[in-house]
Amino acid sequence: MIGAQDQSYPEIREAVRRLCADFPGDYWQRLDRDRAYPTEFVRALTEAGFLSVLIPEAYGGSGLGLQAATAVLEEIHRSGCNGGACHAQMYTMGTVLKHGSPVQKQKYLPKVASGEIRLQAFGVTEPTAGTDTTRIRTFAKRVGDTYVVNGQKIWISRAEHSDLMVLLCRTTPREECAKPSDGMSVLLVDMREAVGKGLTIRPIRTMLNHATTELFFDDLEVPAENLVGEEGKGFRYILSGMNAERVLIASECIGDGRFFIDRAAAYAKDRSVFGRPIAENQGVQFPIARAHVQLSAAAEMVDKAARMFDEGLPCGTEANMAKMLASEASWYAADMCVQTHGGFGFAEEYDIERKFRETRLYQVAPISTNLILSHVATHVLGLPKSF
């Protein structure tokens, strides 16, 4: 089954599928068992230029929009692979591209495009602040030509597989700011130099293979030239990057959903019980059909958000809604796929249980469903703020 023929970027999708075919289920099962990083897969994607899709041609990328990037990630996930190990290499550079100095752009972007520098760690979340980002406590104190950073981050993915990290920290205490969202700044941390000299990375074992970690900062010195944009405006800088992240994660959910639907439909036609394929029972068909209906609607929203982003329109609400719809549609599809497979859905070699665990993440990260609903309630519908 290939599905809709009018999909965007057919030639990109075809090439991504071809690459992914060389990384079949047993490759991911092996990594999953050892919680190991998919180094070979990431290298193949990097060398083929799929991770530099959003970087302008002047800096060595392909200069394509978010719509092309969603095609890449959707196909990766539809193939049964997972982009989580490297999707951030696509968009984390956006903060440097949009708000960095010409010197920073020249210094980093060409090497990010070639893959020589991995810029795929994004440090925002903290154990005590949670989703309430303005309450982060990691503090960067300016001392001469350096910032001295102290604090802690949690759930920072790919920190061990990244050369640079975009770090959000306070540079002015919250109490001293006019608005809670003021007084935060973005620093580029060179992980190669920082580890062992004020930065400790501790991996967290989770229910999925996501290379996520905890970070401890203890008088870490970061050169002041690594400040992105102006001091105190960091929160605004990362917000614009978050729209891209949400749309791209949503496209991964769409890919996951299609994976589950492809697999469930194929299995239902193949599996005979009571002397006939289980697919002949409407009780089996309808959940598959429902998954397809829900996913198709979510995919439209993802396309819309990506298009708006590419046209430079404000799309925070659309990006949020796309992420929510897509993550719920993929989760429904995941659950349906396990049910369709019966006991075999639990067997590692079918990849269903792995993808089931993987796709669950996206209702929580990078932003949880409740926070999206709260955004829509207060910012779109004008309902009273609850926090």
Binding site: P10, E11, E14, A15, R17, L19, E47, A48, G49, S62
Partner: protein, 249 residues
């Protein structure tokens, strides 16, 4: 030296083929299609020859339905310079393909034609050999290594007993085996460039070749289903079972 690489659009090697209800052939409706894997190897070899400065231009050619354009675009995205599509909505048998390729060879005068040793859909393994016969060119089939020196090309062949090396005078015909190389992935920048590379559309009539099938498919059937096996606890039980089945004394 120009290199001509014929490529075929076939059912994807990861897809489990299903036979049509009426047994007339494999059901290709809504099935994922891709470039024949041996042809991918052929394209890769041509690109490597170009990177070494041996080949100057790579021309990909496909004979098949209009959708074979996608396969040619893949060849262009990998690194071919231009493409020729000879459209036939009915199946063209190996002899018809070889005749058409012979015409293309006469027109393009390539120093080398590199083909896959067979297509994974019909497994005919005939086109390269027929093309060599029709053009009177030397052939090195089942190549696992290709080295061009001046106007000769040394081809290491995978034969039953091991490896055989033959030396051919160019222009020559080569067919690829699995171990010749590992094809590269089409890169994103090259995929975008491939969109503007030239792709000429032709028909068999343009070359004056009659491609009417000469063979009739009587019946296509699926291989018999593999029966479920049984698990044995240890070697003793295995030996007992084999004895019971009469396969061991």
């Amino acid at each position: 030296m120009k290199v001509l690489v014929p490529v075929k659009r076939v059912i994807d090697y990861n897809v489990k083929p299903r036979v049509k209800m009426d047994g007339s052939g494999v059901d290709l409706a809504n099935v994922k299609m891709s470039m024949n894997p041996f042809d991918e190897i052929a394209v890769e070899e041509a690109i490597r020859l170009k990177e070494k400065g041996v080949a100057t231009e790579i021309v990909a050619v496909s004979i098949g339905e209009a959708k074979a354009q996608e396969t040619l675009r893949t060849a262009l995205a990998m690194g071919a310079d231009r493409a020729i599509l000879i459209v036939s909505e009915t199946e063209v048998e190996p002899l018809g393909v070889a005749k058409l390729l012979a015409k293309v060879v006469a027109e393009e005068a390539p120093g080398l034609v590199i083909l896959g040793k067979q297509a994974i859909d019909d497994d005919s393994n005939q086109t390269g050999q027929m093309l060599a016969a029709l053009t009177g060119r030397p052939q090195g089939t089942f190549a696992s290594k290709v080295e061009v020196e001046g106007d000769t090309v040394k081809v290491t062949r995978e034969v039953d007993g091991g490896l055989e090396t033959v030396s051919l005078k160019t222009p020559a015909i080569i067919t690829t085996d699995l171990r010749l190389n590992e094809p590269r992935y089409a890169s994103l920048p090259n995929i975008m460039k491939a969109k503007s590379k030239p792709l000429a559309q032709k028909t068999p009539a343009d070359y004056g070749v009659d491609v009417t099938p000469r063979l009739k498919t009587l019946k296509v059937s699926e291989p018999p289903k593999r029966q479920a096996g049984i698990k044995v606890a240890d070697v003793d039980e295995l030996a007992a079972k084999l004895k019971a089945l009469g396969v061991a004394a």
